[in-house]
Amino acid sequence: MSAEVVTANGGPSCHLMSGCGFPAPGAEIFQFDAVLTFDIGSLSFNITKITFLIVLVSVVLMAFFLYAFRKPKLVPRGAQNVGELGYTFIRDGIAREAMGKDGDKFVPFLFTLFFMIWLMNFVGIVPFLQIPVTSIFAIPVAFALIVYLSWVPLGIYRQGFIPFFKNMMFPPGVPAPMYVLLAPIEFISNIVVRPFTHSVRLFANMFAGHLLIASFSVATFYLISASVVGILGSVASFAVTIALTGFEVLIQALQAYIFTLLTAVYISGALKAEH
């Protein structure tokens, strides 16, 4: 089936009346050929468009903030204003919101997370780049892994090994028999499921968004034909593509925000016992 899609995708002459089926985009639009492959030990690295985009995002991010904050002035102007907006948003809107004054020392961590994810989402609608890096599952997994390996050791370090798990699994104010039910649920939801929901939420949103935009883009092209239905359908698909792209801008920022806010909440829970 996949092979069929690939062949259908290939032809610029594939339109509504030309006898070929709708070349719906599938998982293959998230696959990129390796430009270069090299081995380090037994591990082989594939350098793809995704690798290039990761480097691009990292470089742009570092360049912009190094430039914006190179010689910060008491009275900000230009790029510093924009950078400060981002900084105070993370500090006041996420770190202090979740942890109060304790949050200040986690601002660089949350700041890096938010802006990397946001920019990685954003390249999905930049012409020619046009693939959200976060729609490649390994990338949200990498971020979720970093977060998971931050808050769990932090909680154990701050609260102690036994109290950390006790506070998590035995929240106060519950009738004792309920703990039989509650303790395993709390453990599984916090320790086992949490990194998956954390990464999948971001991945699935960006994946679905990109697939939607791709589908309507392909439809716009496919429906161009010498028929009223085809022309109307093509125009409608184009309009939907534009609307979805606008909607994606919102989703990209929102998902980056949610990911970062959840990180702050997890860290906050690790710093002191919840409830």
């Binding site: 089936m1 996949s2 899609v5 719906a24 985009p25 599938g26 998982a27 293959e28 998230f30 696959q31 591990l43 082989s44 690295f45 594939n46 995704i50 690798t51 990761i54 480097v55 995002v57 990292s58 991010l61 570092m62 903030f65 190094l66 914006a68 904050f69 190179r70 010689k71 910060p72 002035k73 008491l74 510093q80 950078g83 400060e84 900084y87 105070t88 601002v107 660089p108 961590f109 700041f111 890096t112 997370l113 990397m116 490649i136 599952f137 390994a138 990338i139 997994v141 990498a142 971020f143 892994l145 970093i146 994946f207 697939l211």
Partner: protein
């Protein structure tokens, strides 16, 4: 969408496709993602963010310091105003006291002068009355004597006898004068 599910299903079931599942996590992509994060985190956390944190803290301090200074200045101004008002009130009170004192002094002085004048007038009146009484007494005595002498002289001429040194004649004149006085008084 069916294509997607089909592909995923085929790949997930280990079919002979060259395309891996979208849910697969290639270790090389994971490692590249991790490295990218730590590089950006390191650079921003070490080089970019401390500078802006410092600046924001300084700005907060400056603003709060400015507010503090303004408050201090205002408090000082308020204090000076209070002192000024207090001094003004004291000065007013003093002036009022002086005025009251002056009023009292004036009244006292006038009263004193009036008393002195009254006493002086009294003295003058008394002296004048005494003088008057003395003059009158003298005049009366002188008149009495002259009238007596005239009367005696006249009587002597009428009678032809000198009655000048006679004690009896003198007594008679006295009696006559007294009688005259009583008639006048009545």
């Amino acid at each position: 969408m069916t294509n997607l599910f089909a592909s995923v299903a085929v790949i997930a079931s280990g079919g002979a496709e060259e395309m891996p599942s979208v849910l697969s996590v290639p270790i090389d992509e994971l490692i590249i993602g991790l490295i990218a994060f730590f590089v950006v985190f390191g650079v921003l956390g070490k080089l970019a963010l401390p500078a802006i944190k410092k600046t924001l803290d300084e700005r907060t301090n400056t603003i709060e310091g400015g507010i503090g200074r303004a408050e201090a200045a205002q408090a000082e101004a308020q204090q000076v105003l209070e002192e000024y008002k207090a001094q003004l009130a004291a000065a007013r009170e003093e002036a009022s006291a002086i005025r009251t004192q002056a009023q009292a002094d004036r009244t006292a002085i006038i009263e004193e002068a009036r008393n002195e004048a009254r006493v002086a007038a009294q003295a003058v009146t008394t002296a004048a009355e005494a003088q008057l009484a003395a003059d009158r007494a003298q005049a009366t005595a002188s008149l009495t004597r002259q009238v007596g002498e005239l009367a005696v002289g006249l009587a002597g001429k009428v009678v032809g006898v000198s009655l000048t040194d006679d004690a009896r004649v003198r007594q008679t004149v006295e009696d006559f004068i007294n009688d005259l006085d009583q008639q006048v008084a009545r």
